[in-house]
């Protein structure tokens, strides 16, 4: 704080000599700064409601902080001192009590829970919100499906303070799915006033207004510029947050964000590139926190439906040709967990993600190419332009290595909106891609990326009956608690994935955050966005 004020006085002196206007520094402004957090990141939300059509990831952050869920994950502290969410333990947030029966779960809501406009929260609001989540379609509905929350009939408002979820079938993921961002609790009375025939769920209204009971509400939103949050002093979901006001500014240039942090003009910079992180860590001027992204990995994906990548030996040759160490060193500056060089492709634990048995081995790669009978060919490496800072150096290094085994490639950077369409078309032959699942279970990752439903995330278009048997077996075993069978099936599907290798895991990335030394309370969440409720500014 001192430094900033000093800098300001210097600027004022310089400016005063150039522009003769009195440089007054009001003490009120200084006080306001103490209670406000200035957060900067590359992109801002395009919608404040996760249920909206096409809401982007920054939009999830707004929903997370402004709406409550019935339950929330506990936190745990790792060996390096960082705080992360606990996958397996939950505590009530808007509910005060959870009772899991055989085919249903009953929640008692907190008696003093109120929405930000003063209306008390009732189970009717919870039912309306859950109905909304499974009815709006798109991503929210699919996410609810992951926990077998499919139909409004499953959600029952027993009375004003009691809410029940009836299960269609047992699913280990149902309870964790209730703690993700999607089943937030919305102020149904307020929203019904804004609903129309064409828009029965008031999606237009919630796009730019928050109507929840969460710890913060959005008081101002200038799309592409900033979001201003103010604390809701009637929050009952947990310990009252310390920050009264949070300002989230969109600053597209990473160099500028770094400059702002290093000069002390911003409090928290979110999602730093690996390079900035590793360099700023060496300088040690500000606090840096880094967490491995759970259930996530960067990988090289090959379209198995089209030749020549339908040939398993070609894919394995690629897996041996990739210059893994160079990638981790030069593209990620060492800030990544290697997912290569393990003992074998037959894994012995159910840890996920874990290293494959592949390592950079040019001779092995060349031998496999010859064995495959594919001969030299030309193809394209595609990746999302929005992630070019990581994917481009990776693609360039891979391009160089593949050239040595007879595969010549051109690099194709695809702009953001187009990336989704290209993924849906499933015609890209070779990609560098990233995926991470909210629910940190291997069967969840495999459900999206390897199973026969051929979802958009199954970019290799890998459809295999044996793989589906293993995935379904694992999910069924987990639902009934048959852990020995679960272990066998998980090890089975991971090993199969590594042998068939439609996608070659490269590394598990980190989520890097920089903050001034007087900021504490940061916690890593599965949704990889910032939770303001625990942050403290000394």
């Amino acid at each position: 704080m001192k430094r900033r004020e000093f800098l300001k006085s210097v600027t004022a002196l310089t400016a005063a000599s150039a522009v003769s206007a009195p440089a007054i520094w009001s003490p009120a402004k200084a006080q306001a700064r103490k209670e406000t957090l200035l957060l900067v990141s590359e992109n801002g939300p395009n919608n404040l409601d996760i249920h909206g059509v096409g809401t982007n990831r920054p939009g999830y952050e707004a929903s997370w902080n402004c709406y409550d869920r019935l339950i929330a994950n506990d936190k745990k502290t790792l060996a390096d001192g960082s705080v992360v969410y606990d996958r397996d333990k939950f505590h009530p947030e808007l509910a005060e009590d959870m009772n899991a029966g055989d085919m249903s779960i009953t929640f008692k809501l907190k008696k003093n829970a109120k929405f930000q406009d003063g209306t008390p929260v009732s189970a009717k609001d919870v039912k309306w919100s859950f109905d909304r989540a499974v009815s709006v379609g798109g991503f929210p509905t699919v996410q609810m499906k992951a926990g077998t929350l499919l139909k409004p009939e499953q959600f029952v408002a027993v009375d004003d303070a009691t809410f029940r979820v009836d299960l269609i079938k047992k699913d280990r993921l149902t309870i964790p799915d209730l703690a993700v961002i999607v089943p937030g609790i919305y102020n149904s009375a307020l929203l019904k006033k804004h609903a129309t025939d064409k828009d029965p769920w008031a999606l237009e209204y919630t796009k730019s207004n928050t109507a929840g009971s969460g710890a913060y509400r959005v008081t101002s939103w200038k799309p592409g510029v900033e979001v201003v949050y103010e604390r809701f002093d009637g929050w009952v979901g947990g310990k009252m947050p310390e920050l009264k006001k949070v300002i989230w500014r969109t600053i597209p240039s990473p160099g500028n964000r770094r400059a702002l942090m290093e000069r002390g003009d911003a409090d928290l910079s979110f999602d730093l590139p690996a390079k900035d992180f590793s360099e700023m860590k060496k300088e040690a001027k500000i606090k840096l926190i880094s967490n491995a992204i759970t259930n996530g990995m960067y990988s090289v994906e090959m379209n198995v439906a089209h030749p020549p990548f339908n040939n398993e030996k070609v894919r394995q040759a690629v897996a041996y040709a990739i210059p893994y160490e160079k990638i981790v060193a030069a593209a990620m500056f060492g800030v990544a967990n290697p997912l290569f060089g393990g003992k074998s492709n037959d894994v012995s634990t159910i840890k996920w993600p874990q290293p494959t048995g592949y390592a950079a081995n040019m001779e092995q790669a060349k031998a496999l190419m010859t064995e495959s009978g594919a001969g030299a060919f030309n193809t394209t490496i595609s990746f999302d332009l929005g992630d070019a800072v990581n994917c481009e150096p990776i693609a360039e290094l891979i391009q160089e290595s593949l050239a040595r085994i007879g595969i010549t490639t051109t690099i194709n950077k695809i702009p953001g909106s187009n990336w989704r369409s290209e993924m849906a078309k499933k015609t890209m032959p070779l990609m560098v891609n990233f995926f991470s699942g909210w629910l940190d279970y291997p069967e969840y990752f495999f459900f999206w990326c390897y199973s026969g439903q051929n979802a958009i995330f199954n970019t290799p278009s890998y459809v295999n009956k044996d793989m589906d048997t293993l995935i379904d077996g694992a999910r069924a075993a987990a639902a009934v608690g048959d852990w020995p069978k679960y272990d066998t099936d998980v090890k089975g599907f991971i090993s199969k994935a590594y042998h068939d290798v439609p996608r070659v895991p490269l590394f598990q990335p980190y989520l890097n955050v920089a903050m001034q030394k007087n900021i504490s309370g940061y916690c890593y969440w599965f949704h990889r966005q910032v939770d303001y409720r625990s942050l403290v500014k000394a």
Binding site: S253, P254, G255, N256, R258, A259, E262, K275, D276, E279, K326, A329, A330, A331, L385, A388, V389, E392, P393, A395, E396, L397, Q399, E400, T410, I411, N412, K413, P415
Partner: protein, 296 residues
């Protein structure tokens, strides 16, 4: 109206030798012009032999030597993947020079031909060409370039095409004005009487006379073409990696300025600046040679 007669006699009598003497006089008189011609020659040489004389392959990565500042081994330092920046800057000369020359050649042909046709034939040709030129001019030019490259794909050809389209109005207008003046000139009448078709007159009599007027603008356009490619690279619509091109090297290196690795953007930036500078000053020099009356 004395303009026509004077213009027709622009080329001094005595052909090539006299032109050369005149050129040498102009270059010698103005040191800046001399400097820019010298630089231009250097760029052309680098473009022609550059890729063969560089110490490292512009595409070879060496991650153990990544992000090293300039040294004896690497004159301009190395980038994130350990590639030698000196080699890349020199190798990029060819691509950037090609972008500059081809853009200008393309816009001269399309714009020049369309313009002289409009000025020569008048009537509907004139109206259509003028409308097209006005429509293009009304667009914010850089956004139009972005749109064209985004729509057609970011290849070198499309970048050249986008640059040519953006500059079309300027060339068309000047060419049209000049053609208008010369429509009734003596030599045109003579060519007509000898039995030349209108198009032959257009292409072989009028267009070559328009060339000297446009040559100044063409050198400015060359500089602009390279800057345009750089701007497109900044947004991600430029040349594809790992091709070395000054603009994309500056765009990528720009992010590294804050972290202190100044050499990644500085050297390609300097090369780009020198080239554009050279082309701009060249324009002035060329005008002095070609049309002394317009010397300023």
């Amino acid at each position: 109206m004395t303009d026509i007669v004077a213009n027709a006699n622009t080329r001094p009598a005595g052909g090539a030798a006299a032109l050369f003497r005149h050129a040498r006089y102009v270059i010698g008189e103005n040191p800046i012009t001399g400097l820019s011609f010298g630089l231009f020659l250097l760029i052309v040489i680098a473009a022609m032999v550059g890729p063969w004389i560089v110490p490292y392959s512009p595409l070879a990565s060496d991650t153990s030597a990544a992000l090293k500042p300039p040294s004896i081994a690497h004159l301009f330092g190395t980038d994130q993947l350990g590639r030698d920046i000196f080699s890349r800057v020199v190798a990029a000369t060819r691509l950037d020079f090609a972008i500059a020359i081809l853009s200008v050649a393309l816009v001269f042909l399309i714009g020049g031909l369309a313009g002289v046709a409009a000025g020569f034939f008048g009537g509907w040709t004139d109206r259509i060409v003028s409308r097209i030129a006005d429509t293009i001019m009304a667009f914010p030019l850089f956004v139009l370039a972005m749109g064209i490259v985004a729509a057609l794909g970011n290849t070198v050809q499309n970048i050249i095409l986008a640059t040519a389209i953006i500059n079309f109005p300027l060339y068309a207008r000047v060419a049209r004005a000049e053609a208008n003046i010369r429509r009734e000139a003596g030599f045109v009448e003579a060519a007509r009487l000898s039995g030349n078709s209108e198009w032959r007159i257009l292409a072989f009599q009028i267009l070559p006379n328009v060339f000297p007027i446009l040559v100044v603008q063409m050198s400015l356009t060359m500089g602009y073409a390279i800057l345009n490619a750089a701007g497109l690279s900044f947004i991600g619509l430029g040349v594809r990696p790992p091709t070395p091109e000054w603009g994309i090297m500056v765009a990528e290196g720009a992010a590294n300025i804050i972290s202190g690795e100044w050499w990644i953007a500085f050297f390609p930036g300097a090369a780009l600046m020198i080239a554009v500078f050279c082309f701009n000053l060249l324009g002035d020099g060329l005008r002095d040679i070609v049309d002394p009356r317009r010397r300023t």
